[in-house]
Symmetry: C2
Subunit: 192 residues, 2 copies
């Protein structure tokens, strides 16, 4: 099970990286990770730090090299993200684009000038990121997307991949024998 969970996480990461590559919006794709993993043609950036510290260090390092170019931060467990989603986010003219996850989360952040922003994940990070943008006088956009709001946390969430997914994560789940369980009421997942 633990092995399958890791393989699913890798399949989801792969879906996200492939989408980022296919949209052609970015010069570099860096995958931040605490362990050595396969990232395809994306760069692996190893870190021992927690999510907030690692990302804020990453943003700081970028700007310290006098590079203050747009950065998109996207979680690796959002396998439904589409090429159109990414192109549409990058086309928003605001200084900061926040993409809400369910229950107050932030599933992606598009930051035009990283020197003027820092991240604060966990809890109602959507509200915290709105506040940080406001404090720094940054014009804020909220990007409305079901695809991007759908992070895969729990077993029940696998239904979203089975229903809407078209990439590696969907193929992996089907290979493992996962299918929708639909008794006419609530949809769930079952395994053969």
């Amino acid at each position: 099970m633990e092995n399958e969970r890791e393989e699913l996480a890798m399949a989801m990461l792969c879906d996200v990286v492939e989408t980022l590559q296919a949209c052609g919006c970015f010069d570099a794709i860096d995958v931040l990770s605490t362990s050595i993993i396969e990232t395809g043609s994306a760069n692996l950036v190893l870190t021992e730090k927690g999510l907030n510290e690692a990302l804020n260090e990453y943003l700081k390092k970028m700007t310290s090299h006098s590079i203050d170019e747009p950065v998109l931060i996207i979680m690796a467990d959002i396998p439904l993200v589409s090429v159109k989603n990414i192109i549409d986010i990058a086309a928003v003219s605001s200084d900061i684009v926040i993409v809400p996850g369910r229950m107050g989360g932030t599933n992606a952040l598009f930051i035009r000038t990283p020197s003027r922003f820092h991240v604060d994940y966990y809890g109602a990070s959507f509200l915290k990121h709105c506040e940080i943008a406001k404090k720094n006088c940054l014009k804020l956009g909220v990007f409305d997307s079901f695809n991007l709001s759908t992070d895969i946390d729990e077993v029940a969430d696998l239904a979203e991949i089975l229903i809407h997914g078209t990439g590696q994560a969907a193929r992996y789940l089907k290979k493992l024998g996962f299918a929708l369980s639909d008794k006419g009421g609530r949809v769930g997942v079952k395994r053969s």
Copy 2:
């Protein structure tokens, strides 16, 4: 509690109706209900039937009067829907626009020619509606929206209204003393 639940349902309906009115896309707004309720300036259509039967009868009645004009079917428990959402849905050129809810649901349907479509809610209705469109050779569009995917079913869902809501439902919950409970991990709701 039951009374509050009903009042919240009415506040959500009111948010949806007001949004539909504000967008100016529709000649008539009909609220289908099994009981007499306040619908503001929308028309009340009383029915004793279940969701599928009532809606299919509604579509049939429309077309029997030689009116085969676009119909938007939208659930009443989607208080985050915005005017921009509705305008964007109506601008999609497909024959059918399906707006997914979480877990396989269909939270809105835009049907250009009602004579060529019928609804089939419950369970994985998103997939069923895709299938019906395909069988009737209708060009299908999927509308990607977090706002519209967020139907309010359970107490935990109230957090979405508190975080993103700006209408009557949000005001009603705050009046009742609901607030976010954020302990840094998962966000929930608490009541004072």
